[in-house]
Amino acid sequence: MSSAESSVSGDPELRRSPDPDSAEWLRTLTGTGQERDQAIERLHELLLRVARAEVRRRGAGLRVSGPELDDLAYQAAADAVMSIIRKIGEFRAESRFTTWAYKFVIFEVSGKLGRHFWRRPDARLDLEDWSRLPERFGSGPEHHAEWRDLIAALRRAVDEELTPHQRRVFVALVLNGVPLDALVARLGSNRNALYKTLFDARRKLEARLAGYVTHRT
C-alpha cells in the first residue's frame, strides 16, 4: 500500500486556528464548572442526533430491532463523548470541531454494529464452503456450473499462496460475508491490520489468477 499522505496527527499543512464556533466548543469543553457540564450535555445531544440519523441511514441491511438500534445509538453517543473529552488535545482545527466530533460517533456506530453481527444465528467465521462464492459475487444458481473451474483455481491459489492467517481472514470476509468490523471485534484486531491482511491476500490471488477471468469471459 502507498506511503503516508497524512501523519497520525492529520495533515500539518492544514493546521490553523479554529473558526469561532469550534473555538467556543474548545473553550467550554476544556473549561470548568457548570459551563463545561452544559457543553458536554450539548455535545451529547448533538452526537445522539448524529448516531440516530446514522443507524436510520444504514437501516435495512442491519437486521437489528428498533429498540436495540436506539440503545446502540445512545451508547455510541455516550462513548463518543468520553473519547472526545479524552482526545480533545488532538483536535488540530483542520476541520470544524463538529465534523471532527461526528467522526467519533460514526466510528462508534460502526464498531457496535460489528459486535452486534455475532448475535445472528447464521453468523459463521471459519466455515469454508466454496459453493457460496458465486452468490457472494452476485451470480445466480443458473451460473454456478460456469464457476466450477474458477473455484478450483482459486482454491488452489488459496492453498498454495496464503498464510494461515491470510486464509482465515479471506474465508471469513469473502466466503462467509463477515463484515470487517465484526471480524475486528471477534479477533480483537483493528480495521487497518485486517484490511492489510486481506489486501495482501487479494494481491497474491490476483497475480495467480491474472488473465484467468478475462480469458474465460
Binding site: 500500500m1 502507498s2 440519523a53 460514526i106 487497518n192 469471459t217
Partner: protein
Amino acid sequence: MNGFSRLERFLRTDPRDVGCGEAMEILHVYVELVAAGEDPEARYPGVAAHLRACGPCEEDFAGLLAAARLIGPE
C-alpha cells in the same frame, strides 16, 4: 457486470490505497472538502483509492458526509 468480473475487480488492488488507518485519520478533512464542492481526490488520491475499495470506510465516509450536511455547524 457478471460475477466473474466482480470477483476480478475485487481481487485487483490499487497500489495508491493507503489503508483504513490513514483514511480514518483524515476522514473529517476529506468530508469537508467534498461538502465544500472541492476535489478531495486531487489532495488525497490514496484515500480516494481506499474508499473505492473498502466498504466499511466508504460507509463511514457516507455517514460523516450526511451528518456534516444535515446537522452542520451549530
